[in-house]
Amino acid sequence: MSFLVLDKLTKRFGDHVAVDALSLAVEQGEFVSLLGPSGCGKTTTLQMIAGFVEATSGSATLEGRDLLSMRPAQRGLGIVFQSYALFPHMTVTQNVAFGLEMRGVSRAERESRVAEALALVGLAKLADRYPRRMSGGQQQRVALARALVIRPRILLLDEPLSNLDAKLREEMQIELRQIQRTVGTTTLLVTHDQAEAMALSDRVVVMNAGKVEQVARPDEAYERPATPFVAAFLGKTNRLTVDGAEVTVRPERIRFCNEGSGMPGRVAARIFQGNHWLYHVDTGSGRVIVIRQNAGDAVPAEGDNVRIAW
């Protein structure tokens, strides 16, 4: 039996079905992302697991034990909130020590575990600061340390990086992945950012309107999307009708080719994006997005007639 098992977990708010019979099995040590647009039910799912929202029906078991009948305090989960939800009136050390204090851990052990957790997230020097005096990235690390220090059975991350700027977010992704590998905690991440989900997870759960669209490895879901929704949500995609059949092609798989092969088209727009060029090509079966790496070669200009193939 898997470590965490969600079976037909459902949440209704009045007539609205927020989460519709979600079933999922997560293995110990796995990093799984719930990915979807806002309102798809991913956060509600996380809150049902955490115990902040009561499930309408279905079950959730952790190591074979029913999770839903436990109070949030008993579930032993580490949670990092989107707003970080740090205690503003406590220093970093006090924040991180709070969970240990609630568990009756002795002062000496508390101190060494807090120091260990702060070292893990690289904040040992800021132990006596108050959260208001820290940057978003630092607060985020405190929240992570606070969640990990109690040695949670599962780490729940609710859009943990969405309040950071793009560059910092990328750094934190790498760091988060490293930390998770180090401590080996089973992790469930909720995010609307497909790049983040793909970068971090062993498996992604793509959700839409309360239902699971696909559960797969990130590369699998990207290359072989189970539904048009998954294809469109995981990066840019072209849907073309070729010879009466609908095909889905990723923009980076399309190349320009010589006269006599491929599909004719005209470059409607060309946008430089540093490491790659983005083209909009008008063809007989509609507009096609093409992404070509910037290899320093000569590139077609706007208005050029080209031929594309994949």
Partner: protein
Amino acid sequence: MTAVDPHPGPLPRQRVTLRPWLLSLPALVLFAAVVVTPLVMTVVLSFHDFSTMGGIKPVFILKNWHDVFTDEYYREMFGRTIRIALWVTAICAVAGAPEAYILSRMSARWRGIFLLAILGPLLISVVARTLGWALLFGGATGVVNQALMKLGLLSRPLPFMFTETGMVVALSHVLVPFMVLSVWAALQRLDPQVENAALSLGASHATVLTRVVLPQAMPGVLSGAIIVFSLAASAFATPAIIGGRRLKVASTLAYDEFLNTLNWPLGAAVAVLLLAGIAAIVFGANRLVERRYASVFE
């Protein structure tokens, strides 16, 4: 982080610094005319002499101040004023802070209704509200006293009129909305997820309240306490109605000196001392709050 302006322009001329003063001039003139001037005149008045025969004499003497500070009678009045204000502040904090927390946890619709219920009384004159208490508890004819006596729960009416307890009860009733609003404002800034975070870390609901919610509400409780204390210490209508002339506080004492004894200089000394006392306590408390919470809340 240091931001460096890549295109530093010419420095603004110094003349500009005059503008804020010019802009606030009308307000400053009004303030000087209607607040500072009468206040200074009151202070000056407190040093004048008074006799029943000769009236007010514009001389400089310390008699009034000497009386106010040494006479047991005045000490009793000021002691009572501070005692009542402290009790009212404590009761408002104990009643108002939980009320504000419950309010902040309500759904928007119910919150609107309850907020109206809390603030509604502020629309009614303090005199009317205090007279209401007098009707309920005023001696043997008070409605509640009569009912309780008829039920056999009391043999004598509850003493309310002309008691400090009566003043404290009536003033708390009048002032508790200020505490609720102040604490509520502090709780508005509280991230609702913070309570969930504490729960997930193993805290019980009681621990969440004492360790997480209350400390964050404390700046609101303290600023509410400052408001309630200063309003209670300077209240006039409620002590005048409940305490009458039998049980005076500083403000009713000053009123009596001005309008009954006609000893304006003495009344002025009492009024100035009351003002200075409240100002000292309020500024002191404010400084304390700011220092205590500066690093936590901006």
